[in-house]
Symmetry: C2
């Protein structure tokens, strides 16, 4: 087992019930488990409850902060069909719901139909010209950073020293440090792994609470580096969208993501 | 009452239960009720079940075709808070579930926080240079077209005569024929009212089954014309996203939408 597959594993615990464990290995800068990681745990249970393994579209609403520790999952089946199945999950910790999901799953290895892609992969500098960091080093960064190898264009890190680009964009190269990106649920995690693009706008840096995250997985992931590209074009009255793309190194789109989040600020309701 | 408000109305029918009626006035070219219309009916019940009236983010998974007639709705509350409430709805007709939703609602009139918008409204020709059609005329078009006044750039209608633009884009001006666009749930309908942008790609024209539609409503709608802009950049293996923007005539973004749909084809699973 690799870390991601291991840490998202769930066990059946009776009809429509599952147990999992949120580990300390996916901490964001807020020192709580990353939302995409928690979404992947939910997806693991959903995939166990229905005949289709891959989330064509999965939405999660984050209703309370996740904590390290056991998680109880209840799944519900909305519909099972030949090509798609639709299901829900609710994740509880200590009797409190932390995440509710709704998604439609398919078998991507059997996806069949026309392909027309007009978008192009993000215009990133070569990986060797980026700021690189290998995973597994430990140290002071939140543990999530240790799970990945990164290569990030310097300009997208400028916000760390108060020099944001002024554009709501970020991107870079990413792969699991232990090569687990081929787990079909990996895109759920990777869609929430990058720093929020809103950090490159002239707003205070802080926690960016995700209200809702939706990921469309389009392709089984090939091993190797992925390129991520994330944009925030509409920050209005304290709400923002974060749109994401994940591309593999054969220039295929792997996943599209969109989340609704609040502008960086101290936690409130 | 106006047509949209009237046709999306629901009545309480016991704890967590509501009844509504899908009318024949929102038919798409497939002669079934439009998905955005059905989503608005669900939202009406959800808003009745929780303290917050406006869908900040609402996702619907369409699991069976809707039909004209009575609809039974069951709502579920995930969480109620000061600023946001999260709820679910399931819509049934004749004992069969047609739609499952999950959404987080707020009171947009109290939204507060920074605004930074880098996107610009769609570059449409002046309304008077577009192909115009007023609602309420009756005739052969599906009934939904009668609900709106339209102004569409000619180029985006070329697919009707086999002359698609080759770009997965469409847009135009729209308003309710009876001026009901200020219903705060109107964006749910308007986000699904335009012809699919995939029609402008070189694929056969046909039914485009929506698997999932998510709408982020950002602003209470001002009266008057709205501008819609819809793109499909990734048609892969028969799956496509349709990203939408709705702008009001003071250049404020009203809603963002994204749906996952299947490429045009005869209905399958």
């Amino acid at each position: 087992m690799t870390v991601f597959s291991d840490d998202t594993a769930v066990e059946p615990a009776g009809e429509d019930r599952w147990t999992g464990h949120l580990t300390e290995r996916w901490h964001t800068p807020g020192n709580t488990p990353n939302g995409g990681y928690v979404l992947a745990v939910a997806a693991r249970a959903m995939a166990g409850a229905i005949p289709h393994p891959h989330p064509a579209s999965l939405t999660g609403h984050f209703v309370a902060p996740p904590q390290v520790g056991p998680v109880e999952i209840r799944t519900g089946i909305v519909r099972t069909g030949k090509r798609h199945s639709t299901a829900t999950a609710s994740l509880h910790q200590d009797g409190r719901e932390i995440l509710r999901t709704l998604g439609t799953f398919t078998d991507l290895s059997r996806a069949d139909g026309p392909t027309r892609v007009s978008a192009t992969p993000p215009a990133l500098p070569p990986r060797e010209d980026c700021k690189q960091r290998s995973g597994g080093q430990g140290g002071d960064l939140p543990t999530m950073f240790d799970r990945f190898d990164w290569a990030t264009p310097e300009e997208y890190l400028g916000w760390m020293s108060g020099k944001g680009t002024g554009r709501g964009e970020t991107g870079g190269y990413i792969r699991f440090a232990d090569a687990d990106e081929t787990d079909p649920l990996a895109p759920l995690m990777l869609a929430d792994a990058f720093a929020p693009p809103v950090f490159n706008l002239d707003v205070p840096i802080g926690w960016v609470p995700t209200i809702e995250l939706t990921v469309h997985v389009r392709k089984l992931v090939r091993p190797g580096w992925l390129r991520g590209w994330f944009t925030t074009r509409f920050l209005t009255d304290g709400y923002l969208e974060e749109d994401g793309q994940l591309w593999d190194d054969e220039d295929d789109i792997v996943a599209l993501s969109r989340q609704l989040a609040l502008a960086p600020r101290p936690p409130s309701d």
